[in-house]
């Protein structure tokens, strides 16, 4: 028996929970609770930027206990009703007890088994590519097929379409319902064309409101219940009726959820240590309140608009270790890069970020966020291949070794984090007829891959 609140009870709590304004939540409730947890569990100032990948598992376990306590104290804030959705200790423990430790995404031989992992676990972290970088309608099929062809990529998310049938799409309108369906239909067709019809998918990134979800998920020809439904929160520890619409629609379809939201370094949670606690609490609550299938545990640094800086990597490592060592859930982490395609920096940022994620026990990782995800068509299949390769190869690397690798990698890119090189768009980085990288991009990839192998991530040789 699950014995966590069912979805009707969750909806009821959004109406009956304690009243708290969003302002009060953001400025008093969350920061106050986090300060208390940092003090109670003696976690303040434990972030050491000179050691970017945590190696102290006892510390990670303390962070977990702080995150658990925070989850019980705070719950989620529902923006639409300004009420707090809380769970009891028993409900939270039961939800975690019955959370899935294995999830099969996709179908048949093309599908991927995502499993709970622990730090240094050789079972590979599943790679999901790419994040929702905007794609023009012209380039979307090419870029997405190129990504789906990469065998190191386990699950396909793809980019976000900027238009549909040449029209702009407006959030919260029927355009999104149409966009959601068209995105999902094309996504399925592209996987078939790439020779991987049963490849698992996550959707729908092109239209992220409930309308996009209604159009994309569970519709004939769209995303199947064997794919993951993408459920993004407004921000950490906050939900809204949009989130719940999507959760309920997915559950109605008999589908699987991927719910999460990053703990923000510099945001409501404050320092890196606060962001870790917040991220852990947000992840734990997703299982108790939203019946999450896989996910939870992201980090983002508002000072860098990324998380492959020292503090970001440390927070990723701590969150991954805390969740993977203390639950049997399938934790999901994202490495947010800032450099663009056809730059060595992007590949160094991937090696560090994805390497930490895989080393520290994440079951799944989505990326890359080439050029910070800001620029249209600035994504290529080659860096997706590298994400997949690092996901798989770094999975057996212990955090101690990954820490040493990060110390070598960081000086190769960190000076440009606040002023990144955006690199080149897809059409300049790839031969569009053959769907292959240009010699320039291939040479950079080979050079960096050789360096990363030499540093100790056992990527397959060429």
């Amino acid at each position: 028996m699950h014995n966590a609140p069912d979805i009707a009870e969750v909806l009821a709590r959004t109406q009956t929970g304690e009243y708290c304004t969003t302002k009060e939540w953001d400025t008093r409730r969350v920061p106050g609770a986090i300060r208390r947890m940092l003090e109670k569990h003696q976690l303040a100032k434990t972030c050491n930027p000179s050691q970017p990948c945590n190696t102290d598992f006892e510390l990670a376990d303390r962070f977990y206990r702080a995150g658990f306590d925070l989850a019980l104290e705070l719950g989620y804030h529902c923006i639409d009703t300004q009420r707090t959705v809380k769970v009891t200790r028993e409900e939270l423990l039961n939800a975690l007890k019955y959370a899935r430790s294995e999830v099969f995404v996709g179908e048949g031989i093309d599908g991927t088994l995502i499993k709970h992992r622990t730090p240094g676990d050789p079972y590979p972290t599943a790679s999901v590519c790419s994040l929702g970088i905007t794609n023009s309608e012209k380039m979307f099929p090419l870029i997405t097929e190129g990504i789906a062809r990469e065998r190191a990529v386990d699950i396909l998310e793809a980019g976000s379409l900027t238009t549909i049938f040449g029209h702009e799409v407006l959030a919260g309108t029927p355009w999104e319902t149409l966009m959601g369906y068209e995105h999902a239909r094309m996504h399925r067709e592209i996987r078939r064309k790439a020779g991987r019809p049963g490849m698992g998918a996550i959707g729908c990134i092109s239209a992220t409101t409930e309308y996009g979800q209604f159009g994309a998920y569970g519709t004939p020809g769209g995303f199947l219940p064997t794919d993951l439904a993408l459920i993004l929160f407004p921000s950490e520890l906050k939900i809204d009726y949009r989130t719940l619409h999507k959760v309920i629609h997915t559950l109605n379809c008999g589908g699987m959820l991927k719910c999460d939201s990053p703990g923000m370094i510099g945001g409501m949670a404050g320092p890196p240590e606060g962001a870790v606690i917040s991220s852990i609490a947000c992840a734990l609550l997703s299982y108790a309140i939203l019946q999450n299938t896989v996910g939870g545990g992201e980090i983002y640094d508002v000072y860098y608009l990324a998380n492959v800086n020292r503090e970001g990597l440390w927070a990723l490592s701590m969150t991954g270790q805390a969740l993977s060592r203390n639950t049997h859930t399938c934790c999901h982490l994202i490495a947010n890069q800032v450099s663009g395609p056809v730059t060595a920096s992007l590949l160094y940022e991937i090696a560090a970020g994805v390497g930490v994620i895989a080393s520290c026990g994440a079951s799944m990782s989505t990326g890359p966020r080439s050029a910070g995800g800001k620029l249209n068509d600035h994504i290529t299949p080659l860096e997706c291949r590298f994400v997949g390769e690092v996901c798989h190869a770094a999975s057996g690397v212990m955090p101690e070794k990954m820490n040493e690798i990060c110390k070598e990698l960081l000086p190769r890119y960190e000076t440009r984090l606040k002023n990144p090189d955006i690199g080149k768009p897809f059409h300049e980085a790839y031969n569009l007829d053959r769907l292959e990288p240009t010699h320039e991009w291939e040479d950079i990839y080979r050079k960096v891959k050789g360096e990363v192998i030499a540093l100790g991530i056992p990527l397959d040789e060429f």
Partner: protein
Amino acid sequence: MEQDELAQELIAAVSEGDDSGAARLAEQAISAGIQPMVLVRSAIQPAMDLIGKRFECGDAFLPELILAGDAARAALDQIMPRIGEKDLAAARSGTVLIATMYGDNHDIGKNIVAAILPTYGFKVVDLGINASPPAIVEAAGRAGADIIACSTLITTSLPYQRQVIDILKETGRRDRHYVIVGGGPVTPEWAGSIGADGYGRDANDAAALCQRLMAGPKPPLAEPLLLGALKRG
């Protein structure tokens, strides 16, 4: 209490986000004979500089910024009515109406910009998330906003930024407000294509952008002012 002491206490109250204390101390300081403009320059601005610097170096975070902004606002509510017409413009950098566009419930980026702007002397009217273009335009008019700042994280809410500008043009109000844009999928090219007056990549860019707009020609600008644009190479 001595005047210097009052100013120091007001700095502490604002930077610590104590809004009722800041209002009380501002009232006390004025009653003690400190000129309103002197109080702004010797207490409010230094306090906001202090919290802004603490944020930049990671000693203070978004909640502290927001609360300090609220406290500065509470103090200024006591001070501003006593400032003469002549000094009023100098005391206030301008008013910014900020919102996350319709269809988008993400608030973190908008909140950071809204919290940083007061540290640069701006009055901020925060319309919140999921704000429709007509609501933004009407609210900007009511607030007498100099600048409308439109944020979004999702691509499908981008077109609503253009709609804000379209409504301003259609209703003959484009010359009343600068319009600046920012957020995850927003680019300098997008800003230019919709006729915005400015683009900033992050919150500090947005604040610097507002300052430069207020010191420049009246809206609309022929070309947007672009700060923090990413470059190749």
